[in-house]
């Protein structure tokens, strides 16, 4: 690229050289503006629209851009399609650096302009690609239509055509807008304006009031009439497995209760940890179960000591045959965690959700608590291999340790990330609270 930029230096002294330089400019710009090869890069929804734009119906090839290069070294254009997370940011910057100049970037979609749907309450999304790399064209939309992308491409084309070798392409600047809270900024600016306006208007308003003491606004806003709809009763459909042998919630409960007498079924609305020493009676539990429609899965509250045994029993018992693990997840309450293991029987069709309340270990000093593991529970990876990733997720999000887990590492966040995001008291310097 360097050669062209020397053209004015060499040719200007020559008589008529200026015209030659202009001609070179024209040819080079024409080539650059009409042959934009994008890089194959996409992370989420916008990537699909980017792909759509290269497909038969929209056909980006008409602009000469169908040559999507997988290697950044052969690309000219970086269409940043999709959310950029903090974990992805270094990779994104590296890709940008690998593209040989002159290179251009299009921020496609709301996520890459400002963070999009993930602006507030978010600890992992970079609010806008312009924080990381210089962006030339912004295409708002979530995701923008392929036509909008083409419009962006044409906008970029116009921009390229304005380059000359006297003012050649150079890498733009990165703008840090990551801490920009547009809502609060606008409100603040408006408040300041309002104050001035109030001061200015005070007299006029007082005068107006004096003149029309009985003033009532002539404007009556009309509410939009909404269609009336009937109320419909919900039908609870009962599931069935691959074979017969569906057990109702009460049957599962009694079966488990026979074996483990500390297992209880609480009202689903209760969240309190079992502080009472005595266990609720089986009848109370059955009453709780009966309160809910048939398509609500049974939720059992199990002690952490019994947890592994209960799961093992459920898996191995011939009638229960819980051979499928739907999910393992957690909930953070103020004083305790709850790990929820969702089991299902593919053959029989019934489901059991096992709630395991775990007391938080408040022995850890308060300042260290944010980054410390506060509870432990045995891992069920040996029973269900599916649990491996799920338990890693719970560990990553809540800081609950799963003992005997084969590979307990963070799964979604970096190893050096501070804190566990799904705890209610989680704070992060990058997070902006949602203003409403």
């Amino acid at each position: 690229m360097g050669i062209v930029n020397y053209a004015p230096k060499i040719l200007d002294p020559v008589p008529g050289g200026k015209y030659l330089v202009n001609m070179i400019d024209y040819v080079v710009n024409w080539a650059r503006a009409n042959s934009i090869w994008p890089l194959t890069y996409g992370t989420s929804c916008c990537a699909i629209e980017m792909m759509s734009s290269s497909m038969a119906r929209y056909d980006i090839a008409r602009f000469g851009s169908e040559v999507f290069r997988a290697s950044p070294r052969q690309a000219d254009l970086f269409i940043i399609a999709g959310t950029i997370t903090r974990r992805m940011a270094p990779a994104l910057q590296m890709l940008w650096e690998q593209i040989p100049g002159p290179k251009y970037a299009i921020a496609m979609g709301a996520c890459t302009i400002s963070g999009g749907p993930f602006v507030y309450d978010n600890y992992s999304v970079v609010r806008g690609a312009q924080n990381l790399i210089p962006v030339d064209v912004f295409i708002p939309g979530c995701p923008p239509r392929p036509e909008a992308l083409f419009h962006g491409l044409l906008t970029l084309r116009e921009k390229i055509l304005h380059e000359t070798c006297r003012s050649p392409w150079k890498e733009g600047d990165v703008r840090d807008v990551s801490t920009l809270d547009r809502y609060r900024e606008a409100s603040k600016a408006w408040l300041a304006l309002e104050r001035i306006k109030d001061e200015e208007m005070a007299e006029a308003r007082a005068k107006f009031k004096e003149e029309n003491p009985e003033y009532k606004s002539a404007y009556k806003p009309v509410r939009v009439k909404k269609e009336e709809f009937p109320e419909v009763e919900r039908k609870a459909l009962l599931g069935k497995g691959l074979e017969n042998g569906f057990l109702s919630a009460a049957e599962i409960f009694t079966k488990t209760r026979d074996r483990f007498n500390r297992v209880v079924a609480k009202d689903m609305a209760t969240e309190a940890i079992d502080t009472k020493s005595e266990v609720e009676s089986a009848d109370d539990c059955l009453e709780n179960i009966m309160k809910y429609p048939v398509d609500f899965p049974l939720e059992l509250t199990v002690n952490a000591e019994d947890y592994l045994d209960v799961v093992k029993f459920m898996r191995d018992d011939e009638d229960l045959k819980m051979n499928f693990l739907i999910d393992v997840t957690g909930i953070d309450y103020e004083d305790h965690f709850e790990v929820i293991t969702q089991l299902m029987s593919m053959d029989r069709g019934h489901k059991v959700f096992i709630r395991v309340p775990l007391k938080k270990n408040f022995g850890i000093a308060e300042e260290k608590r944010a980054n410390a593991i506060l509870a432990q529970i045995p891992s069920i990876t040996s029973l269900y291999p599916a649990a491996e990733f799920k338990e890693r997720e719970v560990y990553d999000m809540f800081g609950i340790e799963f003992t005997d887990h084969p590979d307990l590492r963070r799964i979604f966040l970096d190893e050096d990330f501070t804190g566990f995001p799904l705890r209610k008291d989680f704070t992060n310097p990058h997070m902006i609270r949602r203003p409403l």
Binding site: A56, R57, Y58, D59, R62, A110, I113, S114, G115, G116, P117, F118, V119, Y120, G128, Q130, V135, D136, V137, F138, I139, P140, G141, C142, P144, R145, P146, E147, A148, F150, H151, G152, L154, T155, K159, V177, R182, Y183, A186, S187, W190, E194, K197, D198, M201, A204, R205, F208, K209, N212, Y215, S217, Y219, P221, V222, R223, V224, R434, P435, L436
Partner: protein, 158 residues
């Protein structure tokens, strides 16, 4: 595909079978592409910048937010802030002011297009039908600050 205890005859049988079925299947595939190649009617491409005049979005298409204004530029907004609350990521600032009678009216309807997800929840939430989603889709820009827009031309009525 590899079976260890395959006899020689079976191996050759399979070999010969594949020699026949293989090319046939390939020719079948080729016949599809040839059919598509020689039939220009199958081309489905819409040529965007050239078809600008005929290109129309569906009536429900959610482009960017816009204010419904009458001929004089008056809007129906009462600055109730329902849309603001409905917006999942605070892309709307309903900035209220007091008019000369001291009544709360809309001062400025600020809309951050750059973060708008075009979900349409604000339009759903608006009790007075003051806003709608426009059909605009040619929205690319080189200047990100132009994406923070003010939608109302006039103060609210009241």
């Amino acid at each position: 595909m590899k079976k260890k205890n395959m006899t020689v005859s079976r191996y050759f049988k399979r070999y010969l079978k594949r020699c026949v079925t293989g090319p046939v299947s390939l020719v079948m595939g080729l016949s599809v592409t040839l059919k598509y190649f020689f039939n220009p009617k199958r081309i489905v491409t819409e040529q965007y910048p050239e078809n600008k005049k005929t290109l129309k979005m569906h009536p429900r298409y959610r482009g960017r937010l816009e204010m419904i204004e009458d001929a004089e530029g008056n809007n129906k907004c009462t600055a109730c802030g329902m849309c603001e609350k409905a917006c999942p990521n605070a892309s709307i600032n309903v900035l209220a002011t007091k008019n000369i009678a001291g009544k709360k009216v809309l001062g400025r309807y600020e809309y951050h297009f750059g973060s708008c997800t075009q979900c349409g929840l604000c339009v759903e939430a608006c009790p007075f039908g003051a806003i709608r989603m426009s059909q605009a889709f040619e929205v690319a820009t080189t200047d990100p600050t132009s994406l923070d827009m003010i939608l109302n031309k006039k103060e609210g009525q009241g």
